[in-house]
Symmetry: C2
Subunit: 238 residues, 2 copies
DNA sequence: GTCCGAAAAATCCTATAGGAAATTGGGTTC
DNA sequence: GAACCCAATTTCCTATAGGATTTTTCGGAC
């Protein structure tokens, strides 16, 4: 038997070109700088990324799952159209169901959950302060907001990861891209990020007490808070 | 202005070769005649179906979503390994959450739901009788069981379609393939299909009375019944 | 018999080419 | 000026080719 290798590179996951193209296009879409409804030409993307159309094509198939693009046979891909009011309501209803169930299931695993959640919560606070500072200064940095979005997503994902249900986690990830796109519309509000952070704190505090009922109630209040802020911006934003 | 075309073929959806390959491989996997864990070579599939590897490759990317195949970069695709006990439990937990939520949301739309549900229920009864007759005769026709599976899936899907939430419906469809694969292990029981039909009847009857509480309770009993029969077969089957 | 290693085969992955369909643009007719 | 039709271009889609990697096979050493 050989001694355990000091450099164990077996963990680093090998990836094909298709996966890198997927990441790039996904980032481009989440960035939000592409207009909804506009075409996403396979060949054009291939030339822009300096690869052949084949891996681009496969990445687009994979992107269909995120809901960020729509496909029509023989006509190509388009950036998904913006949310309508009813689609928005359905997304929040679905997310509420998932988050409540995840909170219920994750609460018993406090030993795993709480450290991760506290760490995510601290990061969320740090970036929230950055965002509010940037907004006060009148310079909305996309760099900062993207980091804030990531911290927000990490907080919620920590709960799902501790819910010990891979299908629940998969459903959350499937809605993740659409949720992220939604977040971008909710940033404009002055103290939105601080409200969100306070709601997160309520969830965390209830979980620290081991109070499952209070935790789910706080999570419900949080999701409904995000919903309220979303529709508020939906109306405010022309 | 021309008169409205008598044959309006605008509805029929045009499909590429990739979609047909997807359907064929999906059917092959749902049929259950391929061994879990075995390799699914792109080139081999392409030769078998007499097409080029390119559309096969795209169909495989799409199949990743169903959970029926697993991919490892540079190593190809494999038929997903069989369910372990914990995976089975998680799948039922997730499905229970979805079905209960769908029942709650579909119940108010009785005018849309009940006709469709009754029709699906009648079909379910018809094929259930076919299955029990075939099993009594000792000839388990895959043709009949597949039709029964389709009728069972149609009953549940009718509820989700009337829940008026596209994301809930999408989640259900995402779990659909795995659920279907699970069904195949639950057929052996003598009167399993009749039990399932009786449980469906309880759900339908409660919905006809407009009793949402009873409907969700019946749905919970149904899913738990399927779970019980599944693990019973899981243990019985070597 | 078992383990190891190199050659051979199979497979994955990307690039390129060309046919088929859709979109665009321009000219004509009413 | 608007609607229509046809050509030109763009784009999608599938097939083929070849390099890179993995898997298998086979021979030899312990």
């Amino acid at each position: 038997m050989t001694a355990p290798l000091p450099l164990r590179l077996g963990e680093l996951e090998r990836r094909g070109l298709r996966d890198r193209v997927y990441d790039l296009v996904l980032e481009m879409l989440l960035q939000g700088d592409v207009e909804p409804g506009s075409r996403l030409s396979i060949d054009t993307l291939a030339k822009q990324l300096d690869v052949s159309p084949t891996p681009v094509r496969e990445a687009m198939v994979q992107l269909e799952r995120t809901g960020l693009v729509t496909r029509e046979a023989l006509k190509g891909y388009r950036v998904a159209p913006p949310f309508g009011p009813e689609e928005l309501a359905e997304l929040f209803d679905a997310r509420l169901m998932l988050e409540l169930e995840a909170t219920r299931r994750a609460a018993p695993h406090a030993d795993l959950l709480l450290p991760r959640l506290r760490e995510a919560h601290d990061l969320h606070r740090a970036w929230a302060e950055q965002v509010t500072a940037a907004m006060a200064a009148g310079e909305p940095s996309t760099r900062v907001t993207q980091e804030y979005f990531a911290a927000d997503a990490a907080f919620h994902r920590a709960i799902f990861e501790c819910a010990s249900n891979r299908f629940l986690l998969a459903m959350h990830d499937d809605l993740g891209a659409l949720t992220h796109r939604l977040r971008q519309a909710v940033i404009r509000g002055a103290n939105d990020v601080e409200e969100a952070h306070a709601e997160h704190a309520a969830v965390l505090e209830a979980l620290e007490r081991g109070d499952v009922e209070a935790a789910t109630a706080s999570m419900r209040a949080h999701i409904e808070g995000v919903r309220t802020r979303s529709v508020r911006e939906e109306i405010a934003g022309d």
